[in-house]
Amino acid sequence: MSSLPRAHELGLIGCHVCGLVCRDVPDLHDATCPRCGAALHRRKLGSFARTWALLIAAFFFYIPANVLPIMRTVSLGDVDDNTILSGVLELWVKGSPDLAIIVFTASIVVPMLKFLAMSLLLISAHRRTAWAQRQRAKLYRLVEFIGYWSMLDVFVVALLTALVQFGILSLVEPLPGVVFFGLTVVLTMLASMSFDPRLIWDSKETHD
């Protein structure tokens, strides 16, 4: 694996936007793609900083997303505010454990795993270790893939809010928690997007 040549070793650079391969130049800071005009860089610019910043921001929003109630259901005047966890608990207690597991996985497990996975990728890439490179690449693809599936809660709240509007009989309103949850999901997606998976392969071993 370490014997595989990399683009800049061959004096090549690819455009991130249109994919055009052009010649590597020394002052790459001001170079742009001759075809589409996008800035050229060998690796995504400030990938570490961006990913870290977005990930940390996502984590900051994840706390109120879990503490604040995300949804208010009013049925026959009985007002019920639910946070994510209390909703899961209620589903479990009221006899739909399958739904409870789905919601728990989508709202608690997946975001947590994303935080862990992204942190792992960032730290390992930063250390330029050659440890489990293929697995890390797979993990990254997984994180990218499940990114847009984590909006489950937001979709549920949005759908119910739109559908259940029967005045005093039954009413669902979104509460601030769902905004923070949505922000968390968006920020983790942005974080995973700003991470350059090529960094996984930029290990010390390959360089040596």
């Binding site: 800049h8 070793e9 061959l10 004096g11 090549l12 650079i13 055009l20 391969v21 052009c22 010649r23 590597d24 130049v25 020394p26 002052d27 790459l28 800071h29 001001d30 170079a31 742009t32 793609c33 001759p34 075809r35 005009g37 800035a39 050229l40 060998r42 690796r43 610019l45 400030g46 900083a49 961006r50 910043a53 977005l54 940390i56 921001a57 996502a58 900051f60 929003f61 706390i63 109120p64 604040l68 026959l76 005047g77 009985d78 007002v79 019920d80 005093i168 922000l183 920020l187 930029d202 360089h207």
Partner: protein
């Protein structure tokens, strides 16, 4: 990642990147995002911290309807806090709810704040808290004036009838018993609800109850120093000389009880009563509106006959005016007369006689006598005042005591100094009836049934002799006569049998007779209409309308004749 780009090997046709000066964003600008996120999070924390008010604990008998994390605390229907947890007290006798108040409701954590659970309640003049049927129970709060902080409260089991600072006045009513009153029972003035019962308690000595009522402003001004309060509970049905009378303040009072008040008629002190003034709570409107009773006097009456139908509390009337009531009925034994007289004790209120009492007092004083009731009563007894047990209601046979002047009443001794006062009695109307019945019985007894019976006996003996004669002599003769008659009838029978020639001849004769009769009638009818025909002779055929009256009567006689003729 080396900066030395190696020369392209065999890629000479690759395009060169365009190098131009551009403005660049610093990569570190991205750190603004987590800083912003942290700021938002921090603001939430600060907000929550600023919004958080004091936490208090309120104990209730039961947690029914309460739910941790949900049940709100409301003041004037504005949410001021929330129940955060509910737990049993250590001795399990009650529940303790933790309530976190909002920041702006800090003033509710003071000593005289009251908390109660608002649930739907039915009764006490209506249905309350109906909205909680849908929204679930909530905890109501009412804040007082105290500034002393307090964080442990005992919740009320019923909503307070008066919220703090409500405009109005409270008054105290005294009564023998509570009746059907309850906290929240309405208070009526002219059948409009103006207040409610706030609380009640037994008097210290246990001889009555004190009821605290609250009248809302501005109607509290109608409570004057001379206002009379009465218990408006239940239905007051009166069967009187004016027919059936149903009297009730409202349907609610029938269920939940109530108090009504009004000023007495006539001149009275109309200055509004002061806060917490004391009033007597009468049992009914009539008692309440009666003139002031004044000092009660005890009188005693001795009746020599049965008083079946006289009950305790039966009215004592003077000339038809209720002046008191019977308080005791006791049997006594008179050794001399070997009789069992009844001693009736009664309380009378001379002041109920109003002007009469005043006049009597004035007269007595003018004469320089003692204005004592006994003194005056002595005078009245001299003029024939007697107590009588009269029947008040023919249906139920209830008796009442009437003090009335009896004409030709025998003189009695009246002891002025006797205590209690002894009022002489006279037999009641019922006893008079008995007397009259006695007279009738006496008269009936005077009828000489014996001699009547003897005479009757003699007459019957004579009748017996006559009948014997009839049986022996008259009846056989009569028998022979009947036999003779029977024979004659038999002969006649044979002669009249249907196929005998006599019968046939008779039929023909009858027909002839009828024809003759018809002709005769036509003639007489004609002559009735034309008497001149006797002289001038019959006219030619009469005018067309004429025959109708002539002919009409003709068919009936011919009608019956035809069936008769056709028969044989």
């Amino acid at each position: 990642m080396t900066d030395q780009p190696k020369p392209p090997q065999g890629h000479s046709d690759l395009p060169e990147p365009v190098v131009r000066q551009r403005r660049r964003f610093s990569a570190s600008a991205i750190w603004l995002v987590p800083v912003l996120a942290a700021l938002v999070g921090l603001s939430l924390v600060i907000n929550a911290w600023v919004q958080a008010g004091p936490t208090i604990s309120v104990s209730f008998q039961t947690a029914s309807g309460l739910e941790a994390g949900k049940t709100p605390v409301k003041y004037k229907n504005v949410v001021i806090g929330k129940v955060t947890s509910i737990r049993l007290s250590k001795d399990r006798s009650h529940v303790i709810t933790r309530i976190s108040l909002e920041k702006n409701a800090e003033s509710f954590a003071t000593k005289d704040t009251r908390f109660w659970v608002v649930r739907p309640r039915i009764g006490l003049g209506g249905v309350s808290g109906i909205d909680t049927l849908l929204s679930g129970a909530f905890i109501g709060a009412d804040v007082g004036e105290s500034k002393d902080a307090e964080d442990e409260f005992t919740g009320l089991e019923t909503p307070p009838a008066i919220t703090h600072g409500a405009p109005g006045k409270s008054f105290a009513l005294h009564s023998d018993d509570l009746g059907s009153l309850d906290i929240g029972s309405p208070v009526y003035f002219r059948r409009i609800q103006v207040g409610r019962v706030a609380s009640y308690e037994l008097d210290r000595d246990g001889k009555g109850v004190s009821v605290q009522i609250f009248i809302d402003s501005p109607n509290d001004g109608f409570v004057t120093k001379s206002s009379r309060f009465w218990n408006a509970s239940g239905v007051d049905v009166q069967l009187g000389a004016n027919g059936l009378k149903l009297n009730t303040q409202s349907l609610a009072t029938v269920l939940a009880g109530g108090v009504a008040f009004q000023d007495p008629a006539g001149p009275h002190d109309a200055t509004p009563a002061a806060e917490d003034a004391q009033f007597q709570l009468f049992n009914d409107q009539a008692t309440a509106m009666a003139p002031p009773d004044g000092e009660p006097r005890y009188i005693r009456m001795r009746f020599d006959h049965s008083l079946r139908g006289l009950a305790i509390d039966a009215p004592v009337e003077f000339q038809g005016i209720n002046i008191g009531r019977v308080v005791s009925i006791n049997l006594d034994y008179d050794e001399k007369a070997q009789r069992f007289p009844l001693v009736v004790g009664a309380v009378v209120y001379p002041q109920r006689l109003g002007r009469v009492h005043d006049k009597l007092v004035a007269i007595a004083q003018a004469r320089g006598e003692d204005a004592d009731l006994a003194q005056m009563m002595g005078k009245l007894v001299e003029h024939g005042l007697r107590a009588q047990a009269r029947s008040g209601n023919l249906l139920t046979g209830q008796l009442y005591i009437a003090l009335d002047f009896i004409p030709n009443a025998p003189k009695v001794d009246f002891d002025i100094n006797a205590r209690p006062m002894q009022i002489p009695t006279a037999p009641g109307s019922f006893d008079k009836l008995q007397e009259q019945l006695g007279v009738i019985v006496d008269k009936v007894q005077k009828i000489p049934f014996d001699s009547i019976g003897k005479h009757l006996d003699q007459t019957l003996a004579d009748l017996d002799g006559t009948l014997k004669q009839v049986n022996g002599k008259v009846l056989p003769e009569f028998h022979n006569t009947l036999k003779g008659a029977q024979q004659t009838l038999g002969t006649a029978n044979n002669a009249l049998s249907s196929d005998s020639p006599l019968q046939q001849n008779l039929g023909a004769t009858m027909q002839e007779l009828q024809r003759a009769a018809r002709s005769l009638r036509v003639l007489t009818d004609y002559l009735g209409g034309h008497p001149e025909a006797l002289i001038r002779g019959r006219k030619a055929d009469p005018a067309p309308p004429k025959p109708t009256p002539v002919d009409t009567p003709t068919p009936p006689p011919s009608g019956p004749s035809q069936p008769k003729g056709s028969k044989p």
